[in-house]
């Protein structure tokens, strides 16, 4: 299936990224690229620097060295909201939803950057502002339908079970119609059915909207099944990069995961 999709040019390239917190080196000289429409996985043991890598890509951490080239623009630092405006959306390892708001409002918030009407029209809730609100509501309803969460539309997300919260968070990221979607452990803590649902959504997003996806995941079965190419990190260094099959047979990767005897 993965072969049928048309993989395009490189849209994101990270070059020689190094990031440290005080004396702790989280990432050292990491380089890899992401092509348009592909599903790219980042794997590695705990503390390998996977989440830090995502945080660097969407501007939340500022690397000391190296550059990031996204859609032809090279930069080292940017603010997270600038990244969002350029079409990078993400979900979090620990769900970061707006707990006091309903599912609908959470996903609507994902479209905030696309809404332009100012305070004046908002205050009157007439004409342009109302029309804009309804247009975006329609788009949000499509996402709600796509993720099969119609029944919890008006429920405050704080009351939802974990699996559904993860789905709402994906919805919020999708609402921004991103060209690059970063998923930080989208299947963590889920049972097998929820994982299968989530895999289906990720593949459908990739298929239907053509969204490029970079995901971090610990479930090797999932990673090998759904990703086109895999980067392996360990202790902040890149161990391997390639198709799932190449990575699976790479000796260093096996050593990192299974341990190696020092004799």
């Amino acid at each position: 299936m993965a072969q049928e999709r048309k993989i395009g040019d490189v849209i994101l390239r990270v070059d020689d990224i190094s990031l440290s917190f005080g004396g702790v080196k989280a990432l050292s000289n990491i380089s890899f690229d992401v092509k348009e429409h592909e599903v790219r996985a980042i794997i590695g043991p705990n503390g390998a620097g996977k989440s830090s890598m995502l945080n660097v890509i969407n501007g939340f951490y500022h690397p000391q060295e190296g550059t990031i080239t996204y859609l032809g623009n090279t930069r080292r630092q940017m603010k997270p909201h600038e990244a969002a405006r350029q079409g990078i959306a993400r979900t979090f390892q620990n769900i970061a939803l707006f707990k006091g708001m309903s599912t609908l409002d959470n996903i609507m918030t994902g479209r905030n950057t696309m809404m332009k009407k100012g305070l004046f029209w908002q205050a009157l809730n007439l004409g342009p502002a109302r029309k804009e609100e309804m247009e975006h509501r329609q788009a949000v309803e499509r996402i709600i339908e796509f993720l099969e969460i119609e029944h919890i539309r008006k429920t405050p997300v704080g009351r939802l079970p974990y699996g559904l919260q993860k789905r709402v968070e994906l919805g919020r990221a999708l609402a921004a119609e991103p060209s690059l979607l970063l998923l930080d452990e989208p299947m963590a803590g889920m049972n097998i059915e929820e994982k299968e649902d989530m895999c289906r959504f990720v593949l459908d997003v990739n298929d239907e909207f053509g969204t490029t996806i970079v995901l971090i995941e610990h479930d090797m079965g999932v990673v090998m099944d759904i990703s086109d190419r895999v980067v392996v990190l360990d202790y902040g260094c890149k161990l391997a990069d390639g198709t799932p099959d190449e990575v699976r047979s790479n000796k260093e990767v096996i050593d990192a995961y299974l341990g190696v005897s020092h004799d």
Binding site: F98, N112, A129
Partner: protein, 358 residues
């Protein structure tokens, strides 16, 4: 039994997103509005206006302002009294400098000036949060009161240090001053509260309101989906201060007529409005009204009950009243920490099923 949604179908997103999507709620609100506009003005006298309706309306307006900042955007503020003072002194200066100016315009301008002062004191919110921000706004409170006390220009160098409202007339009706009719004062304030209540609700349920709530619930995630913390936070400070400034303006010019800054706009005023917001319900426009009604009416009811009902001396009753108010607030917050607005919501949910339990 009478509160059923059955048969009310929503066929457009617009009806689904109405402020009162349920028909019964709508009729209830229309009835209250009709009474407020067409019945109350004919029966209102000086006592009812000055002791109940004006304080209720003015505190509701101030509470809406603080609710925008604290309830919706999650920025704790203790500077409400100071911002009300800015509104009041701006009104006083405008009244005395341009006596011919339209009074509505004066109030809106006072709101605008307060909004600018609010933005200035909101800048620390970009770096500090929670209790630390509360302390920073407390500094605003003390600084503003000190400023209006010390700098004679603000009170036109009057000997008493007080400001007093000049006579303002609109459409042939006198609005400020001792001779103004209670019904006129009431309707004037009611107009402001209704218009700006609707505006607050509209802003809160639209893009801007969602951005504020996103910042409140999880500021990091809000930034990552593209909300600029600078815009959202300072916007909340501006809109909030605008409301508080207008309420300070009405408080001074229409209700009190004359004010002395330390007495009328002290820290206790900030706390009173914070209590209104917390008891009414953080993050709801309705809660601002319910909280204001509670904080204005309860002391009067308690006092009347003790003085007239139990024949306790007025001075003693005053002390007991303060103690009882405190106790009631504590008990209420233990029973329902989310305030009256939540209580109202729960009642409605129960009422939908009544008389069946499920």
């Amino acid at each position: 039994m009478f509160y059923r949604e059955s048969g009310q179908f929503k066929t457009s997103y617009q009806t689904d997103q109405a402020i009162f999507p349920i028909a019964q709620d709508r009729w209830f609100v229309y009835a209250i509005l009709a009474i407020a506009v067409f019945v109350v003005p004919f029966y209102i006298d000086d006592y009812w206006a000055n002791a109940i309706f004006l304080p209720f309306l003015i505190y509701a307006l101030a509470a809406m302002g603080l609710n925008i900042l604290t309830g919706y955007c999650g920025q704790l503020s203790l500077g409400t009294g100071g911002f009300m003072a800015v509104g009041a002194y701006a009104t006083y200066k405008l009244m005395t400098m341009f006596p011919e100016m339209n009074f509505i315009l004066i109030i809106l301008l006072s709101g605008g000036i307060t909004a600018m002062v609010g933005i200035l004191f909101g800048i620390p919110s970009l770096r500090i949060k929670g209790f630390y921000l509360a302390v920073a706004t407390l500094a605003a409170q003390f600084f503003l009161v000190w400023l209006f006390n010390k700098v004679g220009w603000f009170y036109n160098y009057s000997a008493s240090g007080q400001i007093s409202a000049t006579r303002m007339v609109m459409f042939g009706f006198q609005i400020t001053g001792p001779e103004a009719a209670p019904a006129v004062k009431y309707l004037f304030c009611l107009g402001f509260v209704l218009v700006f209540g609707l505006i607050a609700k509209n802003i809160a349920r639209g893009r801007i309101g969602r951005a504020w709530m996103a910042i409140r619930d999880m500021d990091i995630a809000a930034e990552i989906i593209g909300i600029k913390p600078l815009d959202a936070k300072l916007g909340a400070f501006a809109v909030s201060s605008f409301y508080i400034g207008m309420s300070g303006s009405l408080y001074f010019a229409v209700w009190l007529g004359a004010a002395e800054v330390g007495e009328a706009f002290g820290i206790s005023q900030s706390f009173l409005i914070l209590f209104i917001v917390i008891i009414g319900g953080l993050g709801t426009v309705l809660g601002s009204f319910l909280g204001a009604a509670f904080m204005v009416l309860m002391p009067i009811l308690l006092k009347n009950f003790m003085v007239d009902g139990l024949s306790i001396m007025a001075v003693t009753a005053k002390h007991v009243e303060i103690m009882l108010m405190g106790t009631m607030i504590i008990i209420f917050l233990i029973v329902e920490p989310h305030g009256f607005a939540r209580l109202w919501q729960i009642t409605k949910e129960k009422l939908r099923l009544w008389p069946f339990p499920h």
